[in-house]
């Protein structure tokens, strides 16, 4: 029973995934005004040839700050978790 159910769910999801290209056309986003703004003005405003980098670090610099802080917090979390697993053995540079 459980096995048949999982097969049915898999078939439905796979069919839905295969049906997506029939409804959507590739390369035609609904909103493209902002893309055209970045492509047209990115070089003049940020003075960088790589528009993607100028979006990441200039236009969306504040989001990148959040990204960096998330990486910092993730490293702190990993350090906390694995330090408690290490137990009594401490390292010389701690």
């Amino acid at each position: 029973m459980k096995r048949e159910l999982s097969v049915v769910i898999f078939v439905v999801l796979a069919a839905g995934l295969c049906a997506i290209p029939a409804f959507l056309t590739f390369g035609e986003p609904a909103e493209s005004g902002m893309d055209q703004y970045f492509i047209g003005n990115g070089q003049a405003q940020a003075a960088a040839n790589n528009i993607v980098t100028s979006v990441v670090f200039d236009y969306r610099g504040f989001d990148t700050l959040g990204e960096s802080v998330i990486l910092f917090a993730a490293v702190i979390g990993v350090g906390l978790m694995f330090r408690s697993m290490r137990g009594e053995e401490e390292h010389e540079d701690e």
Binding site: Q43, F57, G61, F72, F82, H91
Partner: protein, 155 residues
């Protein structure tokens, strides 16, 4: 676990090249595909290669945890400092105050396709470098911490 001499020699040989390639990707982030995160991940791959090839005791004498922690913190501080630096000249937080200024990375570029120049893009290369250093230290210290929880061989 210590790998064979072939693996260790290969890791020794490849480590500086991976480092240089990662730093190249970081430094050319405003000209070519890539940037701080990607280049930092490439550099951390070189660190992971050395960690895989050598035993944990040997690695901790070559790659210090303190140094990696310092890289991570200093990278984030430089990144935030580049954002706050805009406030010092009266521009909004995180604005590109060095672009078109003629100072460090301050050259203007012509519009349209051009070969590009390293000395452009204002604070973007500085932020790329900061994020690259941070990702280098962060990913390396994650791998080091995960390795340090593996029990010693023979015990």
């Amino acid at each position: 676990m210590r790998m064979s001499k072939i693996v260790r020699t290969g890791a020794n040989l490849l480590y500086p090249f991976i480092l240089i390639f990662g730093l190249y990707v970081i430094m050319h982030g405003h000209l070519t595909p890539g940037g701080g995160f990607q280049g930092g991940a490439v550099v951390a791959t070189g660190v992971a290669l050395v960690i895989v090839a050598y035993s944990f005791e040997e690695v901790t004498s070559m790659i210090k945890k303190v140094g990696m922690k310092a890289r991570e913190s200093i990278g984030l501080l430089i990144f935030i400092g580049a954002g706050i630096g805009a406030l010092a000249v009266g521009a909004p937080f995180f604005s590109n105050f060095l672009a078109h200024s003629g100072l460090l990375f301050g050259q203007s570029i012509p519009s349209g396709p051009n070969p590009g120049d390293l000395n452009t893009a204002g604070v973007i290369p500085i932020m790329n470098l900061a994020v690259g250093i941070e990702v280098w230290g962060g990913l390396a210290i994650i791998v080091l911490y995960m390795l340090s929880s593996i029990p010693k061989e023979g015990s």
